[in-house]
Symmetry: C3
Subunit: 462 residues, 3 copies
């Protein structure tokens, strides 16, 4: 099911070199500086419940593809009247597994079935039941709990993503344990930054309570952020993360910002206030990063829960987040004019709009010292996606303005698979540079481990 030469170039000389480069990085430790695994896993180390809950129900890549071909959410264990038998959900997945042909999900599932569960044939309706039994059997064993998988996957450090109000008790539980795994939180304050987030006002009240700061005032609110960032740092965090509809930033005067905050805080928003506040807060977060050294990440341009009907019936993260066009050159200017040349700032940019790679992101990261390019994100974390990123970004930004790979996933078993894909495609890319004499083989051998995990460690200050 997993060919040793998968994702390597067809041309034999190039393939030979890709193999050689990949051999240098295949077994390097996984550095996972941006992801969405459940902190409870690391704190409690529970058993996973069943194959459907591991592979199907929480995976929005899988859900959306099945939904797109007429499967119901209910049949996938979601919503009112949902299927309760995980085996039946698993069978539905197996029956439709051909839909994933040519997609990264197929590579990830193949890899997990093979490498994590030792299964040698591709999932199909024929083997669905036997595979269900085999995986369920594994999941009951201690070796298949999160911490044991973490160690087996050779993860050196993994970051979770955590709300500003989170008490990080699962992280504390890891720190208090005798387990040696390094799990660090990431400060993701969207819920206390986005005036349109559910329960925004209550969240700000709670932010005040947690920090002892007066979140009724602009300065108190900023101080509360500083306090929470410091708490996160004490708990091991080195980074923040921001999911915004667009990369728009603003740099208002203190007076203007305070007045805007007053309107936002009191719920008396004018037309553009919500977006303007988000824009202003990106600049504030960048300012704090330039002070406290936390690496800032920006993930803009996803229209969350595009289908009103799906959102109403089944909630968020159900596969209906759709990318939109973004404008980094214009959007980031206020932030960059404020702190773009500050020596301590690192702002890592992600995009779902691949047209920005060569037009905006590589030129920006190839000039501003504070900017780095995150790896291909979400829909583009794939063979073709990674190739396009390297082909479109490298000539202008070089390799050293990128920060290696991150898996960005809540699907634990896909982590080794995703790093495997990334390392293979990068090896192939480097091999092509060498074969076309744009790089020496010796240079490629030095770059390969940097792309595999070195730039991630350095870029995220891990």
């Amino acid at each position: 099911m997993l060919h040793p030469d998968r994702l390597f170039p067809a041309d034999l000389a190039t393939r030979e070199l890709a193999r050689k480069l990949f051999a240098e990085v295949e077994t390097l430790a996984i550095v996972s500086p941006h992801g969405h695994t459940d902190p409870r896993w690391w704190g409690e180390n529970p058993h996973f419940s069943n194959p459907a809950d591991l592979f199907v129900v929480p995976d929005h890549y899988v859900l959306r593809m099945l939904i797109s071909q007429g499967v119901s959410y209910e049949a996938l264990g979601i919503g009112e009247g949902r299927e309760k038998d995980p085996r039946k959900i698993w069978r539905t997945f197996a029956e439709h597994f051909h839909l994933f042909q040519g997609t990264p999900s197929r590579l990830w599932v193949d890899h997990a079935l093979s490498e994590v569960f030792g299964l040698s044939e591709r999932l199909s309706p024929k083997n669905a039941d036997a595979y269900y039994d085999r995986i369920a059997e594994c999941l009951a064993k201690p070796d298949f709990r999160p911490r044991e998988l973490h160690d087996r996957f050779n993860i050196e450090v993994i970051a979770t993503t955590d709300g500003a109000l989170d008490d990080l008790h699962w992280h504390q539980q890891v720190l208090d344990s005798d387990w040696s795994g390094r799990v660090v939180p990431t400060y993701r304050p969207d819920a206390v930054i986005d005036p349109e987030a559910d329960g925004f006002t209550d969240s700000l009240d709670k932010l005040g309570e947690l920090t002892g700061c007066d979140t009724g005032t602009w300065q108190g609110y900023l101080d509360a952020h500083r306090a929470r960032r410091a708490f996160f740092r004490r708990m091991g965090a080195t980074a923040t993360d921001h999911g915004h509809p667009s990369p728009r930033t603003a740099n208002l005067s203190d007076t203007q910002a305070a007045a805007l905050f007053d309107r936002v805080r009191s719920g008396r928003l004018r037309d553009d206030d919500a977006d303007l506040f988000r824009a202003q807060m990106l600049t504030e977060m960048a300012r704090m990063s330039a002070e406290d050294g936390m690496v800032m990440q920006l993930h803009p341009g996803s229209w969350r829960s595009h289908s009103a009907a799906v959102h109403a019936a089944y909630g968020r993260d159900k596969g209906f987040d759709i990318p939109v066009r973004v404008n980094f050159t214009e959007g980031l200017k206020p932030l960059l004019d404020a702190v773009g040349m500050a020596p301590e700032l690192t702002l890592i940019l992600f995009t779902l709009d691949e047209t920005t790679y060569s037009r905006e992101l590589a030129p920006l990261a190839g000039a501003y010292p504070g900017l780095k390019l995150g790896p291909p994100w979400w829909f583009h974390d794939s063979y073709e996606g990674i190739r396009r990123f390297r082909e479109m970004a490298t000539e202008t930004a070089g390799f050293y303005n990128t920060v290696g790979f991150n898996d960005d996933t809540r699907a634990l078993c896909s982590i080794p698979a995703r790093h495997d894909v990334s390392r293979r495609v990068d090896s192939a890319f480097l091999a092509e540079l060498v074969v076309t004499h744009r790089l020496d083989e010796e240079e490629a051998l030095e770059l390969a481990p940097l792309l595999a995990n070195g730039l991630a460690k350095a870029g995220y200050r891990l």
Copy 2:
């Protein structure tokens, strides 16, 4: 002139596999669910008049390239004072045939000359006269009439595109004949939907007369569409088609929509009314499709007749339609919120803005059950265009959210050529997936005929 390995990958192992896959689909019947052949051809089965009228004068790809290099429309038989001698037009074409190097038109003409007319050398000034004679001689024979070519091309079914007011008498003539060819109409109501179309008000009057509905009212107007759609279905149609400046949709309340219609009907349009009405009508058409099962096609983003001077002097479809940027994620939301999850809806999306493949179209089609991706359109119906489509769409949408190929042409002799190109490039793409171990050979062998005509038949309910 036609190498048996054309369009196959350079790498020999990949080429070998592409050959094998292509061999499976090369002779499969042509399914042509979206095209622009003249219904009269099928009804009357006339002889084509001459080589220039077959290959040059009506082909906007050919016209624009010659115009772009300084040839006049008049020399191509168009406009006041036009050249009347088709042989001279043909010679002009031959003299400039090198301009098409590297373009799909060149592949199509080569293919037609070789496969339809048995000519073995490429068109050139040297052979222009002899070729003219040979083709003219052929065209005089019964075997080169439309129905005979149709049968020789192994066309299983072909769709034409027809205005809402069309009486479809040529289609009736086919049905009444003893010819076994299947020619189906497509409901293309742009002229009775676009308030800026020439003669819009008269067209609505005529629509009322034809259907007995009161097209002076919003509900009567919608009923008239329903009636015409039913008529088209009785005549074999399975699909509708909509050419709009943008993918904007709207979902007004009944009251708002009725008020908008009143303004549109009476010619008292406010600023945005024309575009808003088009937007609203896309949602209405989608609603009707969800009811009556007609597959809906949307072709947005062409700025028709960009040159005012060319339009004034020579009319429409003269090669000056220029693509513009489009926004599907935002534009389609009202329609999708209205009927995007309706089980009966199929809406096939086309684009001239390739940036939307990976950013918008594949994520949308990879989620909404009602959405499918049409093949690369117009400028992108080509070797590079089809490759880019597969590379940019497959990883997110998979294969099963696409609907195979359609030739989209009024140039009868190019139909086999276009399907040949598509089948070759898809075979090459599948071969690359296999050689890079992203797909098993056995899977590729199953997918190849689906891409060649299976998905088209299923997607268009033919």
Copy 3:
């Protein structure tokens, strides 16, 4: 350091053919119709001062990459308190030379060191001092002065870029000399067209003085342009060049244009006036080109000096020009409606927004006789950039609506390197067309020299 097969395809059969095609063009004379070499070099033929001033300080590609990785402008010899020792600047460059891995700058520097200075190893901290000495030694010799390098580089003709107010005395000095090199100016009137340019009003006064035209009136201002264009033509110019924020054009009535000019001239600009005036002037320039036959070039879409801080401290052209999205289809319409079909017009379009290649530029140039496509510009003058251009533009525009390559550089020693890259990548592209049977080998052999310099000579009327 320079492999003879660099930039050729990995596949051996394709590589073999690329070699053959490249052999046909490798030694052809360089035609450089658009560049930024200093006219003083050609007039005075001075010695270059030192390696840092030749390779580092004036090269914005080099500057921005070093800045992006934390090197200061001061360390690169720029700004208050700057490093004065060129050897130390050179060492800084050498220490960071690995940053350029995978970028075109690396190829250009390698090429210049090897081919111009006879150095056989790549620049590194180890050889930095020895290389500095060797290059400095060369620069002291007569053979390494501009005119001697020009002749050695086999430059047939080279264009400089010159302000509308320039007296072109360096060009006169060339004409008056016994040197046979052909150096032509290019009319670049941005400073007297852009109301937001520094010293705009004074420049218009000076334009009036130079020409004897009354630049206080719209007609006098236009006449002044006509006069300067005529002067440039007398000095050998065949082209104009226009750097605008966007491709927006306008075609106001004479009355409107005169009123706009009055506001612009008197500094009483309304909101949109500056941009509207630039837009109007593109149409005026196109009209003049249609009259006087000067080839017009448009370079839109660069946000100049994006960082306010860098601009304030270090000035223009310091590596912080960032591309933005552009819209040619909409922007150019007024100009094209005015003169797009005029037989004498040639308007060459450049872009930093690669999405416009297939969506807008190729369709426009593949229709309007007055439009041609310039080569990949700036960030895209590279292996991947040229490949993408050919792949995205050729199928719609063909080869004959392009104008070959131009090096667009102020870095004299990179000129042969850039033409070498372009000829290699074009040879590779043509070879791929032949190997995939989209072109005959004989056709490729005819096209290769056209792409190398033939289309440039014809397109620029040189």
